[in-house]
Amino acid sequence: MADEYKAPLPNPTPDSKPFWDGLKAHELRIQRCKDCGDAYFYPRDVCPGCLSGNVEWFTASGRGKLHTFSIVYRPLKYPPLQAPYVLAMVELEEGPRMMSNLVGIEPDPAKIRCEMPVVIEYADVTAEVTLPRFRPAS
Protein backbone atom coordinates (compact mmCIF):
# COMPACT_ATOMS: atom_id res chain seq x y z
CA MET A 1 0.00 0.00 0.00
CA ALA A 2 2.85 2.38 0.83
CA ASP A 3 4.08 2.08 -2.74
CA GLU A 4 0.78 3.43 -4.04
CA TYR A 5 1.13 6.82 -2.39
CA LYS A 6 1.70 9.30 -5.23
CA ALA A 7 1.04 12.69 -3.64
CA PRO A 8 3.96 15.10 -3.20
CA LEU A 9 6.47 14.12 -0.53
CA PRO A 10 9.09 16.28 1.16
CA ASN A 11 12.79 15.94 0.53
CA PRO A 12 14.18 17.02 3.91
CA THR A 13 17.16 19.36 4.13
CA PRO A 14 19.69 19.41 7.00
CA ASP A 15 17.78 22.25 8.69
CA SER A 16 14.46 20.37 8.55
CA LYS A 17 15.50 16.74 9.02
CA PRO A 18 14.87 16.62 12.80
CA PHE A 19 11.26 17.69 12.14
CA TRP A 20 10.68 14.89 9.63
CA ASP A 21 12.57 12.37 11.81
CA GLY A 22 10.35 13.39 14.70
CA LEU A 23 7.17 12.76 12.75
CA LYS A 24 8.42 9.32 11.83
CA ALA A 25 8.77 8.66 15.56
CA HIS A 26 5.25 10.12 16.00
CA GLU A 27 6.50 13.23 17.76
CA LEU A 28 6.02 16.83 16.70
CA ARG A 29 9.48 18.32 17.04
CA ILE A 30 9.80 22.03 16.35
CA GLN A 31 12.27 24.73 17.31
CA ARG A 32 12.56 27.65 19.68
CA CYS A 33 15.04 30.42 20.16
CA LYS A 34 17.11 30.31 23.33
CA ASP A 35 17.73 34.06 23.13
CA CYS A 36 14.24 35.53 22.62
CA GLY A 37 12.29 32.45 23.72
CA ASP A 38 9.97 32.32 20.70
CA ALA A 39 8.96 29.01 19.20
CA TYR A 40 8.80 29.02 15.41
CA PHE A 41 7.99 27.00 12.31
CA TYR A 42 9.10 26.03 9.63
CA PRO A 43 12.44 24.70 10.81
CA ARG A 44 15.47 26.84 10.07
CA ASP A 45 18.94 27.54 11.43
CA VAL A 46 18.09 31.08 12.54
CA CYS A 47 15.32 32.48 14.70
CA PRO A 48 12.95 34.49 12.45
CA GLY A 49 12.20 36.70 15.45
CA CYS A 50 15.72 37.91 16.19
CA LEU A 51 18.09 36.16 13.73
CA SER A 52 19.88 34.37 16.56
CA GLY A 53 21.53 31.08 15.71
CA ASN A 54 21.12 29.96 19.31
CA VAL A 55 18.12 27.72 18.69
CA GLU A 56 16.98 24.34 20.01
CA TRP A 57 14.55 21.56 19.16
CA PHE A 58 11.77 20.50 21.50
CA THR A 59 8.70 18.31 21.31
CA ALA A 60 5.44 20.23 20.95
CA SER A 61 2.16 19.06 22.48
CA GLY A 62 0.46 18.44 19.13
CA ARG A 63 -2.51 20.49 20.28
CA GLY A 64 -3.71 23.70 18.73
CA LYS A 65 -6.52 25.56 17.03
CA LEU A 66 -7.65 25.73 13.44
CA HIS A 67 -6.55 29.19 12.33
CA THR A 68 -7.92 29.15 8.78
CA PHE A 69 -8.74 26.58 6.11
CA SER A 70 -9.88 25.87 2.60
CA ILE A 71 -11.79 22.96 1.14
CA VAL A 72 -10.11 21.66 -1.97
CA TYR A 73 -12.73 20.59 -4.52
CA ARG A 74 -10.40 20.38 -7.51
CA PRO A 75 -7.10 18.90 -6.39
CA LEU A 76 -3.85 18.53 -8.24
CA LYS A 77 -3.28 15.24 -10.05
CA TYR A 78 -2.13 13.27 -6.99
CA PRO A 79 -3.83 14.55 -3.85
CA PRO A 80 -2.88 13.34 -0.36
CA LEU A 81 -6.54 12.65 0.46
CA GLN A 82 -9.61 12.03 -1.61
CA ALA A 83 -11.25 15.32 -2.67
CA PRO A 84 -12.95 17.25 -1.29
CA TYR A 85 -10.50 17.52 1.59
CA VAL A 86 -9.61 20.24 4.08
CA LEU A 87 -6.40 22.21 3.78
CA ALA A 88 -5.72 23.62 7.24
CA MET A 89 -3.55 26.20 8.92
CA VAL A 90 -3.13 25.08 12.51
CA GLU A 91 -1.96 27.41 15.25
CA LEU A 92 -0.05 25.25 17.72
CA GLU A 93 -0.43 25.71 21.47
CA GLU A 94 3.22 26.83 21.50
CA GLY A 95 2.47 29.68 19.07
CA PRO A 96 3.71 28.86 15.57
CA ARG A 97 1.36 27.99 12.73
CA MET A 98 1.78 25.09 10.32
CA MET A 99 -0.02 23.86 7.25
CA SER A 100 -1.66 20.46 7.47
CA ASN A 101 -4.90 18.66 6.67
CA LEU A 102 -7.95 18.56 8.90
CA VAL A 103 -9.43 15.05 9.00
CA GLY A 104 -12.15 13.35 11.00
CA ILE A 105 -14.75 15.94 10.05
CA GLU A 106 -16.97 16.37 7.01
CA PRO A 107 -15.44 18.76 4.45
CA ASP A 108 -18.38 21.10 4.88
CA PRO A 109 -17.86 24.84 5.46
CA ALA A 110 -20.92 24.87 7.72
CA LYS A 111 -19.28 22.39 10.09
CA ILE A 112 -15.71 23.67 10.18
CA ARG A 113 -14.93 26.85 12.06
CA CYS A 114 -11.82 28.89 12.64
CA GLU A 115 -10.50 28.56 16.22
CA MET A 116 -11.87 25.04 16.73
CA PRO A 117 -9.49 22.97 18.91
CA VAL A 118 -7.55 20.33 17.03
CA VAL A 119 -5.04 17.62 17.88
CA ILE A 120 -2.37 15.95 15.80
CA GLU A 121 -2.42 12.48 14.35
CA TYR A 122 0.35 10.82 12.40
CA ALA A 123 -0.14 9.43 8.91
CA ASP A 124 2.59 6.99 7.87
CA VAL A 125 2.05 7.57 4.16
CA THR A 126 5.19 5.70 3.02
CA ALA A 127 7.90 3.66 4.71
CA GLU A 128 10.03 6.82 4.94
CA VAL A 129 7.57 9.66 5.42
CA THR A 130 5.02 10.42 8.11
CA LEU A 131 2.77 13.43 7.60
CA PRO A 132 1.13 15.40 10.40
CA ARG A 133 -2.65 15.63 10.20
CA PHE A 134 -5.05 17.21 12.66
CA ARG A 135 -8.53 16.20 13.80
CA PRO A 136 -11.05 17.99 15.99
CA ALA A 137 -10.08 17.62 19.66
CA SER A 138 -12.77 15.96 21.70
Binding site: P8, P12, Y42, S70, I71, S100, N101, P109
Partner: protein, 389 residues
Protein backbone atom coordinates in the same frame (compact mmCIF):
# COMPACT_ATOMS: atom_id res chain seq x y z
CA UNK B 1 14.40 61.83 6.70
CA UNK B 2 14.15 59.06 4.12
CA UNK B 3 10.55 60.01 3.44
CA UNK B 4 11.46 63.66 2.82
CA UNK B 5 14.06 62.51 0.35
CA UNK B 6 11.45 60.36 -1.37
CA UNK B 7 8.82 63.10 -1.37
CA UNK B 8 11.32 65.36 -3.10
CA UNK B 9 11.34 62.87 -6.00
CA UNK B 10 7.57 63.07 -6.52
CA UNK B 11 6.94 63.51 -10.22
CA UNK B 12 10.63 63.29 -11.11
CA UNK B 13 10.08 60.44 -13.58
CA UNK B 14 7.29 59.77 -16.04
CA UNK B 15 5.83 56.91 -18.02
CA UNK B 16 6.11 57.98 -21.65
CA UNK B 17 5.22 54.72 -23.36
CA UNK B 18 2.69 52.07 -22.34
CA UNK B 19 1.37 49.25 -24.47
CA UNK B 20 0.36 45.62 -24.54
CA UNK B 21 1.03 42.86 -27.03
CA UNK B 22 -0.95 43.14 -30.27
CA UNK B 23 -3.46 40.70 -28.83
CA UNK B 24 -4.10 39.15 -25.44
CA UNK B 25 -5.98 35.95 -24.76
CA UNK B 26 -5.21 32.51 -26.20
CA UNK B 27 -2.13 32.92 -28.38
CA UNK B 28 -0.61 29.50 -29.15
CA UNK B 29 1.46 31.07 -31.95
CA UNK B 30 3.40 33.36 -29.59
CA UNK B 31 6.25 32.42 -27.28
CA UNK B 32 6.64 34.22 -23.97
CA UNK B 33 9.66 36.11 -25.34
CA UNK B 34 7.72 37.12 -28.44
CA UNK B 35 5.09 38.63 -26.13
CA UNK B 36 7.78 40.61 -24.27
CA UNK B 37 8.97 41.84 -27.67
CA UNK B 38 5.52 42.87 -28.93
CA UNK B 39 4.94 44.83 -25.75
CA UNK B 40 8.36 46.46 -25.98
CA UNK B 41 7.99 47.43 -29.63
CA UNK B 42 4.51 48.84 -29.09
CA UNK B 43 5.52 50.79 -25.98
CA UNK B 44 8.57 52.30 -27.68
CA UNK B 45 6.42 53.32 -30.66
CA UNK B 46 3.92 54.83 -28.21
CA UNK B 47 6.74 56.89 -26.69
CA UNK B 48 8.21 57.89 -30.04
CA UNK B 49 11.54 56.33 -29.02
CA UNK B 50 13.79 53.72 -30.60
CA UNK B 51 15.30 50.55 -29.15
CA UNK B 52 18.69 52.28 -29.32
CA UNK B 53 17.45 54.95 -26.91
CA UNK B 54 16.98 52.36 -24.16
CA UNK B 55 19.77 52.08 -21.63
CA UNK B 56 18.10 49.94 -18.95
CA UNK B 57 15.90 46.86 -19.24
CA UNK B 58 13.85 45.75 -16.23
CA UNK B 59 11.93 42.55 -16.66
CA UNK B 60 11.16 39.22 -15.10
CA UNK B 61 9.92 35.77 -15.85
CA UNK B 62 13.15 34.60 -17.48
CA UNK B 63 16.12 32.69 -16.15
CA UNK B 64 18.52 35.64 -16.38
CA UNK B 65 18.26 39.38 -16.88
CA UNK B 66 20.14 38.98 -20.18
CA UNK B 67 17.41 36.97 -21.89
CA UNK B 68 14.95 39.72 -22.81
CA UNK B 69 17.56 42.29 -23.92
CA UNK B 70 19.18 39.65 -26.15
CA UNK B 71 15.86 38.79 -27.82
CA UNK B 72 15.18 42.50 -28.36
CA UNK B 73 18.69 43.24 -29.59
CA UNK B 74 19.16 45.82 -26.87
CA UNK B 75 22.46 46.23 -24.98
CA UNK B 76 21.50 47.80 -21.67
CA UNK B 77 23.91 49.21 -19.10
CA UNK B 78 21.52 48.40 -16.28
CA UNK B 79 19.57 45.15 -15.83
CA UNK B 80 16.97 44.10 -13.30
CA UNK B 81 15.30 40.71 -13.09
CA UNK B 82 13.50 41.28 -9.79
CA UNK B 83 10.88 38.54 -9.43
CA UNK B 84 8.41 39.08 -6.62
CA UNK B 85 5.38 37.76 -8.49
CA UNK B 86 2.69 39.62 -10.39
CA UNK B 87 3.39 43.03 -8.87
CA UNK B 88 7.04 42.94 -10.02
CA UNK B 89 6.49 45.51 -12.77
CA UNK B 90 5.06 48.04 -10.32
CA UNK B 91 8.16 47.51 -8.19
CA UNK B 92 10.29 47.94 -11.32
CA UNK B 93 8.79 51.41 -11.59
CA UNK B 94 10.28 52.21 -8.18
CA UNK B 95 13.60 50.73 -9.31
CA UNK B 96 13.42 52.94 -12.42
CA UNK B 97 12.95 55.95 -10.15
CA UNK B 98 16.11 55.04 -8.30
CA UNK B 99 18.32 54.51 -11.31
CA UNK B 100 17.04 57.47 -13.31
CA UNK B 101 17.50 59.86 -10.40
CA UNK B 102 20.93 58.40 -9.65
CA UNK B 103 21.99 59.00 -13.23
CA UNK B 104 22.56 55.30 -13.91
CA UNK B 105 20.07 55.24 -16.79
CA UNK B 106 17.84 57.67 -18.65
CA UNK B 107 15.45 55.58 -20.75
CA UNK B 108 14.14 52.51 -18.94
CA UNK B 109 12.20 49.73 -20.61
CA UNK B 110 10.07 47.49 -18.37
CA UNK B 111 8.71 44.38 -20.09
CA UNK B 112 6.33 41.51 -19.43
CA UNK B 113 5.50 38.51 -21.59
CA UNK B 114 3.89 35.29 -20.48
CA UNK B 115 2.34 32.35 -22.22
CA UNK B 116 0.31 31.52 -19.16
CA UNK B 117 -2.38 29.58 -21.00
CA UNK B 118 -0.58 28.11 -24.03
CA UNK B 119 2.72 27.53 -22.16
CA UNK B 120 4.83 28.29 -25.25
CA UNK B 121 8.50 29.03 -24.59
CA UNK B 122 8.00 29.19 -20.85
CA UNK B 123 10.91 26.90 -19.92
CA UNK B 124 10.79 24.67 -16.89
CA UNK B 125 11.87 24.91 -13.27
CA UNK B 126 9.93 23.85 -10.21
CA UNK B 127 9.51 26.54 -7.57
CA UNK B 128 7.80 23.95 -5.39
CA UNK B 129 10.47 21.22 -5.61
CA UNK B 130 10.39 18.77 -2.67
CA UNK B 131 13.50 20.23 -1.02
CA UNK B 132 12.18 23.83 -0.94
CA UNK B 133 10.10 25.29 1.90
CA UNK B 134 6.86 25.05 -0.14
CA UNK B 135 7.83 21.55 -1.29
CA UNK B 136 8.34 20.42 2.28
CA UNK B 137 5.77 22.37 4.27
CA UNK B 138 2.86 22.94 1.86
CA UNK B 139 2.83 20.60 -1.13
CA UNK B 140 2.50 17.37 0.92
CA UNK B 141 -0.86 18.62 2.19
CA UNK B 142 -2.37 18.90 -1.25
CA UNK B 143 -2.28 22.67 -1.55
CA UNK B 144 -3.54 23.17 -5.06
CA UNK B 145 -3.11 26.17 -7.34
CA UNK B 146 -3.22 29.77 -6.20
CA UNK B 147 -6.95 29.52 -5.40
CA UNK B 148 -6.42 27.26 -2.40
CA UNK B 149 -3.66 29.52 -1.13
CA UNK B 150 -5.58 32.82 -1.40
CA UNK B 151 -8.57 31.00 0.09
CA UNK B 152 -6.76 30.76 3.43
CA UNK B 153 -6.71 34.55 3.67
CA UNK B 154 -10.31 34.86 2.49
CA UNK B 155 -11.63 32.39 5.10
CA UNK B 156 -9.84 34.17 7.95
CA UNK B 157 -11.15 37.53 6.68
CA UNK B 158 -14.67 36.07 6.72
CA UNK B 159 -14.07 34.81 10.27
CA UNK B 160 -12.68 38.08 11.61
CA UNK B 161 -15.02 40.53 9.89
CA UNK B 162 -18.05 38.65 8.64
CA UNK B 163 -17.12 39.22 5.00
CA UNK B 164 -19.50 37.22 2.82
CA UNK B 165 -19.29 35.26 -0.40
CA UNK B 166 -21.93 37.61 -1.82
CA UNK B 167 -19.71 40.64 -1.15
CA UNK B 168 -16.77 38.94 -2.84
CA UNK B 169 -18.97 37.95 -5.77
CA UNK B 170 -19.91 41.59 -6.28
CA UNK B 171 -16.27 42.30 -7.15
CA UNK B 172 -16.55 39.85 -10.03
CA UNK B 173 -19.88 41.32 -11.15
CA UNK B 174 -18.71 44.95 -11.19
CA UNK B 175 -15.47 43.99 -12.91
CA UNK B 176 -17.42 42.12 -15.59
CA UNK B 177 -19.44 45.28 -16.23
CA UNK B 178 -16.20 47.07 -17.08
CA UNK B 179 -15.09 44.17 -19.30
CA UNK B 180 -18.30 44.53 -21.30
CA UNK B 181 -16.99 47.96 -22.33
CA UNK B 182 -13.57 46.62 -23.38
CA UNK B 183 -13.51 45.01 -26.83
CA UNK B 184 -10.25 43.19 -25.97
CA UNK B 185 -11.69 41.51 -22.89
CA UNK B 186 -12.01 37.74 -22.90
CA UNK B 187 -15.23 37.55 -20.84
CA UNK B 188 -17.93 40.03 -21.88
CA UNK B 189 -21.27 38.47 -20.99
CA UNK B 190 -23.01 40.06 -17.99
CA UNK B 191 -23.04 38.05 -14.75
CA UNK B 192 -24.92 38.29 -11.47
CA UNK B 193 -23.96 37.51 -7.89
CA UNK B 194 -26.08 34.35 -8.21
CA UNK B 195 -24.05 33.32 -11.28
CA UNK B 196 -20.83 33.66 -9.29
CA UNK B 197 -22.21 31.67 -6.35
CA UNK B 198 -23.48 28.88 -8.60
CA UNK B 199 -20.35 28.60 -10.74
CA UNK B 200 -18.16 25.55 -10.22
CA UNK B 201 -16.68 25.13 -6.74
CA UNK B 202 -12.89 25.46 -6.87
CA UNK B 203 -11.64 25.90 -3.31
CA UNK B 204 -13.82 27.16 -0.49
CA UNK B 205 -14.78 30.01 -0.45
CA UNK B 206 -14.02 30.50 -4.14
CA UNK B 207 -16.16 29.46 -7.07
CA UNK B 208 -14.89 29.62 -10.64
CA UNK B 209 -16.05 33.21 -11.20
CA UNK B 210 -14.15 34.35 -8.07
CA UNK B 211 -10.93 33.33 -9.85
CA UNK B 212 -8.90 35.20 -12.44
CA UNK B 213 -8.50 34.01 -16.01
CA UNK B 214 -5.50 32.14 -17.38
CA UNK B 215 -4.35 33.69 -20.65
CA UNK B 216 -1.36 34.71 -22.78
CA UNK B 217 -0.15 38.27 -23.17
CA UNK B 218 2.55 40.85 -22.82
CA UNK B 219 3.12 44.50 -22.22
CA UNK B 220 5.76 47.12 -21.60
CA UNK B 221 6.40 50.57 -20.23
CA UNK B 222 8.95 53.18 -21.22
CA UNK B 223 10.02 55.39 -18.33
CA UNK B 224 12.30 58.40 -18.32
CA UNK B 225 13.03 61.60 -16.43
CA UNK B 226 10.32 64.25 -16.26
CA UNK B 227 12.60 66.54 -18.27
CA UNK B 228 13.17 64.09 -21.11
CA UNK B 229 9.48 63.17 -21.03
CA UNK B 230 8.57 66.61 -22.40
CA UNK B 231 10.02 65.69 -25.80
CA UNK B 232 8.28 62.31 -26.13
CA UNK B 233 5.31 61.59 -28.36
CA UNK B 234 2.52 61.58 -25.78
CA UNK B 235 1.50 63.48 -22.69
CA UNK B 236 3.68 62.21 -19.81
CA UNK B 237 2.12 60.31 -16.93
CA UNK B 238 4.13 61.25 -13.86
CA UNK B 239 5.06 58.84 -11.11
CA UNK B 240 4.10 60.65 -7.91
CA UNK B 241 4.70 57.85 -5.44
CA UNK B 242 5.92 54.28 -5.27
CA UNK B 243 6.29 51.59 -2.65
CA UNK B 244 7.12 47.92 -2.41
CA UNK B 245 7.35 45.39 0.41
CA UNK B 246 7.49 41.69 1.15
CA UNK B 247 6.29 40.00 4.35
CA UNK B 248 6.56 36.30 3.48
CA UNK B 249 6.98 34.03 0.50
CA UNK B 250 4.79 30.96 1.04
CA UNK B 251 1.22 31.45 2.27
CA UNK B 252 1.66 29.33 5.42
CA UNK B 253 4.11 32.00 6.64
CA UNK B 254 1.68 34.91 6.21
CA UNK B 255 1.92 36.92 9.43
CA UNK B 256 -1.78 37.84 9.63
CA UNK B 257 -4.14 36.06 7.25
CA UNK B 258 -6.88 38.68 7.45
CA UNK B 259 -4.58 41.69 7.04
CA UNK B 260 -2.35 42.34 4.05
CA UNK B 261 0.74 43.63 5.81
CA UNK B 262 2.90 43.91 2.68
CA UNK B 263 0.25 46.11 1.09
CA UNK B 264 0.12 48.34 4.16
CA UNK B 265 3.90 48.79 3.96
CA UNK B 266 3.98 49.47 0.21
CA UNK B 267 0.99 51.79 0.39
CA UNK B 268 2.35 53.85 3.28
CA UNK B 269 5.41 54.64 1.20
CA UNK B 270 3.49 55.55 -1.93
CA UNK B 271 1.11 57.85 -0.04
CA UNK B 272 3.96 59.53 1.84
CA UNK B 273 6.13 60.01 -1.22
CA UNK B 274 3.27 61.37 -3.34
CA UNK B 275 1.52 63.50 -0.75
CA UNK B 276 -1.68 62.54 -2.58
CA UNK B 277 -4.88 62.18 -0.54
CA UNK B 278 -7.30 59.28 -0.94
CA UNK B 279 -10.01 61.70 -2.10
CA UNK B 280 -7.79 62.75 -5.02
CA UNK B 281 -7.76 59.27 -6.56
CA UNK B 282 -9.91 59.03 -9.70
CA UNK B 283 -9.12 55.43 -10.63
CA UNK B 284 -8.01 52.35 -8.71
CA UNK B 285 -6.28 49.51 -10.52
CA UNK B 286 -6.12 46.72 -7.92
CA UNK B 287 -4.80 43.29 -8.81
CA UNK B 288 -7.78 40.94 -8.70
CA UNK B 289 -6.30 37.45 -8.76
CA UNK B 290 -9.30 36.42 -6.64
CA UNK B 291 -12.28 38.46 -5.53
CA UNK B 292 -10.94 38.81 -1.97
CA UNK B 293 -7.77 40.59 -3.15
CA UNK B 294 -9.21 44.04 -4.03
CA UNK B 295 -11.13 43.91 -0.73
CA UNK B 296 -7.86 43.35 1.14
CA UNK B 297 -6.24 46.15 -0.88
CA UNK B 298 -9.01 48.66 -0.11
CA UNK B 299 -8.41 48.04 3.61
CA UNK B 300 -4.61 47.89 3.51
CA UNK B 301 -4.33 51.07 1.46
CA UNK B 302 -6.63 52.95 3.81
CA UNK B 303 -9.60 53.57 1.51
CA UNK B 304 -11.77 51.89 4.15
CA UNK B 305 -11.33 50.74 7.74
CA UNK B 306 -10.21 47.14 8.39
CA UNK B 307 -13.16 44.83 7.79
CA UNK B 308 -15.15 47.36 5.75
CA UNK B 309 -13.87 46.22 2.35
CA UNK B 310 -16.71 43.73 1.87
CA UNK B 311 -19.54 46.17 2.63
CA UNK B 312 -17.75 48.83 0.52
CA UNK B 313 -17.85 46.79 -2.68
CA UNK B 314 -21.28 45.28 -2.02
CA UNK B 315 -23.31 48.05 -3.65
CA UNK B 316 -21.46 47.90 -6.96
CA UNK B 317 -19.78 51.30 -6.63
CA UNK B 318 -16.61 49.96 -8.25
CA UNK B 319 -18.37 49.36 -11.58
CA UNK B 320 -19.08 51.71 -14.52
CA UNK B 321 -20.84 54.86 -13.36
CA UNK B 322 -20.01 54.10 -9.72
CA UNK B 323 -18.27 56.45 -7.32
CA UNK B 324 -15.09 54.35 -7.11
CA UNK B 325 -13.99 53.19 -10.58
CA UNK B 326 -11.87 50.09 -10.13
CA UNK B 327 -10.25 47.76 -12.66
CA UNK B 328 -11.69 49.49 -15.69
CA UNK B 329 -10.05 47.14 -18.20
CA UNK B 330 -12.14 44.28 -16.81
CA UNK B 331 -9.40 43.06 -14.51
CA UNK B 332 -7.68 39.74 -14.23
CA UNK B 333 -11.14 38.36 -13.56
CA UNK B 334 -12.62 39.22 -16.97
CA UNK B 335 -10.08 41.01 -19.19
CA UNK B 336 -6.91 38.94 -19.23
CA UNK B 337 -4.48 37.34 -16.79
CA UNK B 338 -1.32 35.91 -18.27
CA UNK B 339 0.16 35.16 -14.83
CA UNK B 340 2.11 38.20 -13.67
CA UNK B 341 -0.76 40.59 -14.25
CA UNK B 342 0.76 43.75 -12.74
CA UNK B 343 1.83 45.15 -16.11
CA UNK B 344 -1.79 45.43 -17.30
CA UNK B 345 -2.72 47.52 -14.24
CA UNK B 346 -0.10 50.08 -15.21
CA UNK B 347 -0.91 50.12 -18.94
CA UNK B 348 -4.62 50.64 -18.24
CA UNK B 349 -3.92 53.42 -15.73
CA UNK B 350 -1.72 55.26 -18.24
CA UNK B 351 -4.32 54.92 -20.99
CA UNK B 352 -7.09 56.15 -18.68
CA UNK B 353 -5.02 59.15 -17.58
CA UNK B 354 -4.37 60.01 -21.23
CA UNK B 355 -8.07 59.69 -22.04
CA UNK B 356 -7.54 56.83 -24.50
CA UNK B 357 -10.10 54.36 -23.14
CA UNK B 358 -13.12 54.96 -25.34
CA UNK B 359 -16.36 53.59 -23.96
CA UNK B 360 -14.87 52.70 -20.60
CA UNK B 361 -13.08 56.03 -20.13
CA UNK B 362 -13.31 57.45 -16.60
CA UNK B 363 -14.25 61.08 -17.21
CA UNK B 364 -11.59 63.64 -16.29
CA UNK B 365 -9.35 61.08 -14.60
CA UNK B 366 -6.08 62.73 -13.60
CA UNK B 367 -4.77 60.59 -10.73
CA UNK B 368 -4.67 56.80 -10.43
CA UNK B 369 -3.39 54.26 -7.96
CA UNK B 370 -2.03 50.89 -9.09
CA UNK B 371 -1.55 48.16 -6.55
CA UNK B 372 -0.49 44.58 -7.01
CA UNK B 373 0.04 41.33 -5.19
CA UNK B 374 3.11 39.22 -5.70
CA UNK B 375 3.29 35.56 -4.82
CA UNK B 376 0.41 34.72 -2.46
CA UNK B 377 -0.14 38.13 -0.87
CA UNK B 378 3.59 37.81 -0.17
CA UNK B 379 4.80 40.99 -1.78
CA UNK B 380 3.06 44.19 -2.74
CA UNK B 381 3.88 47.14 -4.89
CA UNK B 382 2.04 50.44 -5.24
CA UNK B 383 2.32 53.31 -7.67
CA UNK B 384 0.44 56.60 -7.72
CA UNK B 385 0.35 58.17 -11.18
CA UNK B 386 -0.89 61.50 -12.42
CA UNK B 387 -1.05 63.75 -15.45
CA UNK B 388 0.18 66.58 -13.21
CA UNK B 389 3.53 66.75 -11.43
Amino acid sequence: MALEKLHAQRGSIAIVGAAESDRVGKLPGKSALALHAEGARNALADAGLKASDVDAVLSTGRQTANDVPEYLGIRPRYLDNTQMGGCSFIAHLQHALGIINAGVAEVVLITHGESGYSRVGMGSGDRFAPDTPPGQFEMPFGIGGPATRYALAAVRHMHEYGTTKEQMAQVAVATREWARLNPRAMMRDPITVADVLSSKEIAWPFNLLDCCLVTDGGGALVVTSAERAQSCAKKPVYVLGTGEASCHSIISQMPRFHVWDAAIMAGERAWAMSGVKHSEIDLAMFYDAFTIVPILALEALGFVEPGEGGPFVADGKTGPGGSFPMNTNGGGLSYTHSGMYGMYLLVEAVKQLRGECGERQVKDATTAICHGTGGILSASATAILSTER
